[in-house]
């Protein structure tokens, strides 16, 4: 299965934020999406996930057209995104946020709340175990009972990632998952992303400015520049591409991880 973009275009007034982008991203691979600030990376995520549908072009996941679907429907199909600015469920604790991400629809009705079926209780317990596992793997087990708005920016970023794992994803779309994250945790993050892909076939599409982080884990890299796809290929090839070097150094130099 793959995520396929076909001449996707998105404009804001006169600004062409995404300029006829076509690309194929396998669902079971790690794909990186890089490009300087304002290149249109987040806009592309918004187009894919239904938050801001494209003006034209088509997007499909597997054999399903997804452009024009509402965000919750895209998520139901297994495309789970994170946000560049990690605000999250401000008043919920880390544990509550993770559990909320995993709650199935059948438990999310007033009658479901009153009856609390056995199925719902079993699901809740299993989710609780998974939340502890995932947070331990990301080194945030001691934060489970801390409210989201009391976390550091880096921990909120990790929570974005952990939360998306709880939602039964088929493919992750991570918008700058390593930004503001402490170096030690970036290591855990890359290991986990890689391992989920290799062991469970859970691929991701990752935007980040931290190129050393991305180049280590990506199978394939797409470079976006002023809305258009500039280059695509394996990390080594991209790193050696003079056009890519020019875009990164020509603008305002390479971006560091705190961008």
């Amino acid at each position: 299965m793959e995520l396929v973009l076909d001449t996707v275009r998105k404009t804001f007034g006169g600004v062409v934020a995404v300029d006829d982008v076509s690309a194929v991203m396998p669902q079971d691979r790690v794909t990186a999406l890089i490009g300087p600030n304002g290149a249109g990376k987040t806009t592309l995520f918004n187009a894919i996930t239904g938050f801001d549908p494209p003006d034209r072009g088509s997007i499909s996941f597997g054999d399903q057209r997804i452009d024009g679907l509402p965000p919750w429907r895209v998520a139901e199909l297994g495309l789970i995104r994170t946000f560049q600015t990690p605000v999250g469920f401000t008043t919920l604790t880390v544990r509550e946020s993770l559990l909320a991400a995993a709650t199935p629809h059948f438990a999310e009705t007033p009658l479901g709340a009153l009856g609390l079926s056995r199925k719902a209780r079993d699901h809740e317990r299993a989710s609780g175990d998974r939340a502890e596992e995932i947070s331990a793997e990301l080194g945030m087990a001691d934060l489970l009972d801390v409210r989201t708005d009391e976390l550091s920016a880096g921990d909120r970023k990790l929570l974005e990632f952990a939360r998306s794992l709880m939602a039964e994803p088929k493919m992750l779309l991570l918008d700058e998952p390593a930004a503001a994250v402490a170096p030690a945790n970036i290591g855990r993050l890359s290991q986990l992303v890689r391992r989920l892909c290799d062991e469970r076939g859970l691929g991701s599409l990752i935007i980040d400015h931290n190129l050393s982080f991305l180049m280590q884990i990506a199978d394939e890299v797409h470079v976006l520049d002023r809305g258009a796809l500039l280059a695509s290929g394996p990390p080594a090839e991209i790193a050696a591409n003079p056009d890519v070097m020019r875009v990164y150094l020509g603008e305002d130099g390479a971006k560091d991880s705190e961008a």
């Binding site: 996930t49 965000p71 919750w72 998520a75 139901e76 789970i80 994170t82 946000f83 605000v87 999250g88 469920f89 401000t90 008043t91 919920l92 604790t93 509550e96 559990l99 909320a100 991400a101 709650t103 438990a107 999310e108 009705t109 007033p110 479901g112 709340a113 009153l114 609390l116 719902a120 809740e124 080194g139 934060l143 009972d145 801390v146 409210r147 976390l151 550091s152 920016a153 880096g154 921990d155 939360r163 939602a167 402490a182 170096p183 030690a184 945790n185 970036i186 290591g187 855990r188 890359s190 400015h209 931290n210 190129l211 050393s212 982080f213 280590q216 390479a254 971006k255 560091d256 991880s257």
Partner: protein
């Protein structure tokens, strides 16, 4: 001091407001839907109950004369339907527009009651509401029965809303309130869930309506002026929006306080000043509570997960550094 029957009445009224405030908390505290149409929903439930149970001799166009035990649940369901009719269009609007729209719908309902006089007796009102057990217990003793009914209703409301609050459903409601985009990105059907919640609040308010009528004994449209909505809101804010016990505690504090102010003995020639001072005193109570307990008597924070736990690490991330990797591009 005044006689105990007076205080029985005050506690009865407080229990009724407590029920309404707890129902409001589900949609507004947890659901984030700031509803100013409580009066309208209460009117819908009340008139449904009145019409279904009214004495056919009163000459109302439709008076099936149902038993109150049948009419009571029907009123709750009918109010849920009305809530659906209001919520389906209104929930497309952003918060501040939603607020105004619900207020407008409540006024529309009140005007409908006035206009549909052959169905509702309009401004004449309907006297002698049917009350449970009043053939067994009569006179002043009935006040105790009424208190029992109101307290039992509040207790049921507490148990129901508490269960909703601590359930996965309540958690998702709070999540979507905090961040709708994230909820959508996780596949939550936010709108559908909000409509269901709004309808649920309607059912709960509709179920409380008959108890309110037992207390008032006669119904007329001016009972459902917006004032009642604001009293319920004040009770909930004092008690703690988003908490579990807030509506309960806030209503008792507010109603007992208000009635106690009414008891201040003044020279009869100054009675109008006392009446004028009442809303001022309520405002003062609200300001004082919010000054010293900004989240209300019970806060949402104390009700859920993050109660008394230590705060998280501060920004800067003082985690012991392991193998540092990937520092920049």
């Amino acid at each position: 001091m005044t006689n105990p029957i007076f205080w029985v009445g005050v506690l009865t009224l407080a229990a009724i407001y407590a029920s309404l405030a707890m129902a409001l908390n589900v949609e507004s505290g947890w659901g984030g839907m700031w509803d100013l149409g409580i009066a309208g929903l209460l009117a819908a439930g009340s008139y449904c109950y009145v019409i279904l149970t009214a004495d056919p001799d009163l000459g109302m166009r439709f008076a099936p004369g149902l038993s109150m035990w049948v009419a009571w649940p029907l009123s709750a369901l009918f109010t849920g339907l009305v809530a659906f009719a209001i919520g389906a269009p209104a929930l497309r609007l952003r918060r501040e527009y939603f607020l105004i729209t619900t207020l407008a719908f409540a006024e529309i309902i009140r005007q409908l009651v006035v206009i549909q006089a052959d169905l509702t007796r309009g401004t004449l009102g309907v006297p002698n509401i049917n009350r449970p057990f009043d053939s067994f217990v009569t006179g002043r003793d009935y006040n105790y029965v009424l208190l029992g009914i109101a307290v039992a209703a509040a207790a049921v409301m507490y148990l129901v809303t508490r269960q909703i609050g601590i359930s996965p459903f309540g958690r998702t409601l709070r999540a979507a309130r905090d961040n709708e985009a994230v909820a959508l990105a996780l596949g939550k059907r936010v709108n559908r869930m909000r409509i269901k919640t709004f309808v649920l609040a309607g059912v709960l308010i509709g179920a409380t309506a008959p108890v309110y009528l037992f207390y008032i004994r006669a119904v007329s449209p001016q009972l459902f002026a917006p004032g009642i909505t604001f009293t319920v809101w004040t009770a909930l804010v004092i008690g703690g929006l988003g908490s579990i016990r807030g509506g309960l505690a806030g209503a008792f504090v507010l109603i007992v306080f208000t009635e106690a102010v009414g008891l201040i003995e003044v020279d009869p020639s100054h009675i109008n000043i006392l009446v004028a001072i009442e809303p001022f005193m309520v405002g003062l109570l609200l300001v004082l509570v919010l000054r010293f307990r900004p989240d209300g008597l019970f806060s949402e924070r104390s009700a859920f997960g993050a109660g008394n736990r230590p705060a998280g690490r501060s920004a800067g991330d003082s985690r012991p550094a392991g193998a540092a990797q990937g520092s920049g591009g």
